[in-house]
């Protein structure tokens, strides 16, 4: 393990969690964004597509998890619980994780269905979710303490409530009927460097400051510090991506729900 920490190594191990079953809202875009930006900052991203029954990667510096159909969630549930201890340990170590929609709910305490049945989560985030008949769907702009304004698209029927001070809401939303539960003006949740959110779209391409936040935490986890080493060409490409993201952000944040 320690030979990975030598001077020259710039590897970052990025796990895409259950891409076969939890990929429903273009969350592939988050993986593409992390992979390219890590490269442009002079790191060597290694993407591990982890699916049910696969061998768990030896190193994990960042975890990306997506949304899924109810059926997809049923398929991965057992495998996820089998890895709950590992995921708790990684979370406590400060490994950054971005969990969208269904995976956000599964990282909570439980999900209560419309019929009142409680389905447990792996309890990394102190949140719970209650199913309801109406969906919250539409474009959304939120404000985060860590990464400023974030634009995305939410699409969920579960109402999520943040339960304790150990877990903080990730963002503030500015209209009723949006965000975690439509009533308390919060969206998402954060504990350690684990971020759960309903934002997709995909969220990272249009919000590169969030991608860079995750990258910084990933590098700190692996190497203690985040040290960008970009060539002039790579810097130019980063600037171009940021300019395109800004233009797309401005359009997206003005679109109707």
């Amino acid at each position: 393990m320690d030979n990975e920490k030598n001077e020259d190594s710039r590897v970052l191990d990025i796990v895409s969690l259950y891409p076969n079953d939890m990929n429903i809202y273009g969350d592939t875009g988050n993986v593409k964004t992390m992979e390219l930006r890590a490269r442009l900052y002079g790191y060597e991203p290694r993407i591990h597509a982890y699916n049910v029954g696969d061998a768990w990667p030896e190193h994990v510096d960042l975890i990306l998890g997506g949304g899924g159909q109810d059926k997809g969630q049923a398929v991965i549930s057992e495998d996820l619980f089998a890895h709950a201890d590992i995921l708790h340990t990684l979370a406590e170590e400060g490994v950054p994780m971005l969990l969208i929609c269904g995976m956000y709910q599964l990282f909570g305490e439980y999900f209560e269905t419309v019929e009142g049945q409680r389905l447990p989560g792996i309890n990394v985030l102190n949140v719970h979710t209650v199913g309801q008949d109406t969906r919250m769907i539409g474009n959304l702009v939120e404000t985060t303490a860590e990464c400023g304004a974030i634009v995305g698209y939410e699409n969920h029927s579960g109402q999520t409530i943040v339960n304790s001070n150990e877990t903080q809401p990730w963002a503030e939303v500015h209209a009723e009927g949006t965000g975690n539960n439509g009533t308390d003006y919060t969206e998402g949740a954060r504990k350690y460097n684990v971020i759960g959110t309903y934002m997709h779209g995909s969220v990272l391409p249009k919000n590169p400051q969030l991608a860079d936040f995750l990258l910084k935490k990933a590098a700190e986890h692996r190497y203690g510090t985040f040290e960008p080493r970009s060539s002039a060409q790579q810097l130019a490409q980063l600037e171009k991506l940021n300019a395109l993201a800004k233009a797309a952000f401005e359009v997206a944040s003005k679109r109707p729900r």
Partner: protein, 433 residues
Amino acid sequence: MPKTFLSSLTPALGKAVRAAARLRSGGKGGTALPGRVVEAMDADFMARTLAQLPYGVVLVSGTNGKTTTTRIVSQVLEQLGLRVFTNPTGSNFTRGVVSALLDAVDMRGRLQADVAVLELDEAYAVHFVEKVKPRYALLLNVLRDQLDRFGEIDTTAKMLGAVAAATTGTVVLNREDPRVAALAELAHCNVAYYGLSDDLLSFFPSDDAMHAQDAVAANPSHAHEASVALTGLDGHKARLSFAGDPQPYEAELKLEGVYNAFNAAGALAMVREVMEADAGDLVRAVSTVTPAFGRGESIRVGEDTVELILVKNPMGFRLALKSFAAEDHETMIIINDEYADGRDMSWLWDVDFSSLQGTGVHTVAGVRATDMALRLAYDEVHVGAVQEDVAAAVKSFVRETTGRNKHIYCTYTAMLAARSAMAQIADVEDVGL
């Protein structure tokens, strides 16, 4: 209430509203208003009128390919000698059907047709079958572009399930889509399938398998016998096999794209249920069908050919990119996010654009041009112009690429805008939208 007397006036009144609506919009459009008026004053008009048809109603639904498939079923039935009523303009909701019926009936409410072939959006199909039980239903696929309207794919599948349950004669199912094939359990009538040969399956990965490598073996419904199967495809040359006939048939299609060849197999499976027909006649008939507007439609501008290609979900976009080689063409992509397009841009991230790396994209346009430009940057595809205004972008694209053939990929409302911009510089068929 003298309801029968009142409803005998429906055709005249509806036609008058339709004429007025057309006048107001300068001779074009006004599709839904007369339907709305008639629905309000004579709710039974549609069911009563369609009940006259000796061959009943054929309903076509699914996420992708409804318009082209409806067109194939209609045109093949016509070639086989039936008089067909259809709603060909993509106005695939009940009011659109009512409006089209108003055009077709005479003043006494008689419909001069043997069969109706109707394209219906999944949600409207549910409303439709509450009023009219179709004799036949052809259910194509459940893909992802409707997600932000209906929530989840499985919700969409339930809507098609309501159609399968209401059908009285035969429901024809795509055996390669597990969610569609599973609807056989809900049907109270005959069930027939259409499908693909093993070696073609890889061209049509399902939504579930979009990220999986071992896409195909996973679907047990592939084992059902197909009434019609697409077993080979080489350019426009499609090989088709018919159940009970050991000999394969070759059809030279005018339709574009691998998915339309598959839709043709579904359409022929449907036609075989409606009437007995010789496989050779079916193949000859399907070979004459031309693309529906905007579905791989070719428009001539001077010496150049412009192909308008409708894209509305990741799978359709992927298949379109496979079907239309980028080489020797200039490419434009137009992405809108109006309700009919879908507001959520997530789907663009599940399309692989690397096949455009060699040629680049001349112009991206539409409300979400900036999203598309960002998406292409992550696949390292060079983009020329980025312009929101579709009409202006289409005109400068056509002007700046004179002498080269062109592909324009567009979402639904973008296609309407692109078409009307093209109509100002070229001959474009009026489809009555």
